[in-house]
């Protein structure tokens, strides 16, 4: 896929043979304003190949705008965005076409020789092979979100964008989805940008947690802990309180 570049900027040079794989995404001085209000202001961000990055931010901090820029759904930005591989999105709502059976949703627009077989294999990975011929309206919320993940992964994206995909799920389903996402990420190794407002979710899953505030990446915290990470781990707790402070969620009475 051709890199997307903002106005007035050139494409990066083709890397010489033998270099490590390029970053999954690279943003330089990316800005985006709506009606004169800057939602993103000179964002610099690299997502390494196969790196799992979580993006935290309060409502209206520009998380979704950043994701839409990376997905190519918003073209009116300033600066430079380079995404060398295919990009896929798992949206907050699963966004399955209700008039296509589950497998056909996964295979939609898939340019492979055997789309149904590929779709079935992807559905097996999310443990939904037996629902391949069901109508999407008969799926539960968690199942629909798994189909959405299968649809994204069957295209082997270099960059997988997850837009609060577990937000609408109940707590138990969310835990199984976290495990599933980690398993799929280990197997396919896309670069991942998980947009979420859930600090715990970010800390359980990501290599690196970013905080977006005032249109900039305000904090960039590495999480150097082996997975699976127990929620009650003391180091996670320390990171959690630090991130919550940085998000401005301090307890009342404190400055």
């Amino acid at each position: 896929m051709a890199p997307r570049t903002g106005p007035g900027l050139t494409r990066p040079p083709v890397p010489p043979v033998g270099t490590p794989p390029p970053d999954a995404a690279r943003l330089r001085a990316v800005g985006r304003s709506f009606a004169g209000r800057a939602v993103l202001d000179a964002v610099d961000l690299d997502i390494g190949a196969g790196e799992f990055v979580a993006l935290l931010g309060r409502s209206g901090s520009g998380k979704s705008t950043l994701l839409r820029v990376l997905a190519g759904l918003d073209q009116d930005f300033d600066g430079e965005v380079t995404v060398p591989g295919p990009t896929m999105v798992a949206f907050q709502d699963p966004r399955l076409l209700p008039w296509k059976r589950v497998w056909a949703n996964v295979a939609l627009g898939l340019g492979s020789a055997r789309p149904r077989e590929d779709a079935l294999a992807a559905l097996a990975e999310v443990r939904l092979a037996e629902r391949a011929d069901a109508w999407p309206l008969t799926l539960s919320g968690g199942e629909a979100q798994r189909v959405s993940l299968a649809r994204a992964l069957v295209r082997e994206p270099g960059l997988l964008l997850l837009d609060e995909p577990f937000g609408a799920l109940d707590a138990l389903t969310r835990i199984t989805m976290h495990d599933l996402v980690l398993r799929l990420w280990r197997r396919h190794r896309p670069g991942v940008l998980l947009v979420t407002h859930d600090v715990d979710e970010a800390l359980l899953l990501a290599d690196r947690v970013l905080v977006l505030a005032d249109g900039r990446i305000a904090h960039d915290v590495a999480v150097d802990l082996d997975r699976p990470r127990p929620r009650e781990d003391g180091r996670l707790a320390a990171l959690r309180s630090r991130l919550l402070t940085e998000l401005g969620a301090t307890r009342t009475g404190q400055p």
């Binding site: 997905a71 190519g72 759904l73 990009t87 896929m88 999105v89 949206f91 709502d93 966004r95 076409l97 209700p98 008039w99 296509k100 939609l108 627009g109 069901a134 109508w135 999407p136 309206l137 008969t138 649809r151 295209r155």
Partner: protein
């Protein structure tokens, strides 16, 4: 042989439904019996009609008895008159419907898929929509004479407008989020139309199809009142001149029967094409 468990007396009352409770399986309430109930009043009316005619309460000259009409139908079917008339009328409807449906759906897609298309197509069609189409008959006769053309044109117009309005509403009602999905999946334009827009607009299109077919039959009946030399309308009009009320009533019955048949066909189409909507109820 018997264990104390199976002999225990309280078991039975617990398992049995309490006295006076409704039938235990509401899901088994048969649909078939309800559709049978719907035949009671039409058949009673038919019996009343027949009895009235036989007792002389309903004059034969104004409304012949059902048996007379049935006999007339057998006669006219036997000598080929009825079959030929139905054939001519059906051809008019099919031709007008094909032209009108093609134009209505095509224009709706044009208007629904591009801003320019909407700006060009929608205003004249909205103007046409407010026009009472049967008022166009004198103009059509002046333009096209009294042959098949004005009849087919009238039917085509009657079909095109409801199909256009409902298909366009269907296209415009397709969830914009699916457009974003198509962009992420890099679907080509033809794929977007084929996989997203047309199936998404199908519920609206099918509503338009039912309305369109209804007005097609209506337009046929009106068109056949003017200068027809063949077809059901011609058969009815000539029968009026010879005071053959039985043939007039028979013609009307055939009209409504044909309308019912095409409506049932569209409903069948709807059930198949919109099966995904009933996904929650297992087939």
């Amino acid at each position: 042989m018997s264990t104390p468990d199976t002999d225990a007396p309280p078991r039975t009352p617990i398992a049995a439904p309490p006295a006076g409770s409704p039938a235990p399986a509401p899901s088994r309430r048969p649909r078939r019996s309800r559709s049978w109930h719907r035949w009671v009043s039409p058949l009673a009316l038919l019996a009343l009609w027949q009895t009235g005619a036989m007792l002389g309460v309903i004059p034969e000259r104004l409304l012949p008895s059902p048996t007379t009409i049935a006999a007339t139908a057998t006669d006219l079917l036997g000598d080929g008159t009825l079959g030929a008339a139905i054939g001519v009328s059906l051809r008019r409807v099919v031709a007008g419907f094909a032209i009108g449906a093609g134009a209505g759906v095509g224009l709706a897609l044009l208007a629904g898929l591009s801003r320019w298309g909407e700006n060009l197509v929608d205003p004249p069609l909205q103007m046409l929509r407010t026009l009472p189409i049967f008022g166009l008959i004198p103009l059509f006769i002046l333009w096209f004479g009294i042959g098949e053309t004005p009849k087919v044109t009238l039917i085509a117009l009657a079909v095109a407008i409801p199909l256009y309005v409902n298909t366009l509403a269907g296209v415009q009602g397709v969830d914009a989020r699916f457009g974003e999905l198509a962009a992420v999946l890099r679907l080509p334009r033809a794929g977007v139309i084929g996989h997203v827009v047309v199936p998404g607009a199908l519920p609206g299109l099918l509503v338009g199809l039912r309305l369109g077919l209804g007005s097609a039959w209506l337009a046929l009946i009106v068109a056949e009142q003017i200068n027809a030399d063949a077809g059901l309308g011609f058969m009815i009009n000539s029968a009026r001149e010879f005071l053959r009320t039985d043939i007039v009533v028979l013609g009307l019955l055939v009209y409504s029967l044909l309308g019912l048949l095409t409506d049932a066909f569209v409903r069948l189409l709807e059930r198949r094409a919109l099966a995904w909507r009933h996904g929650l109820a297992p087939a």
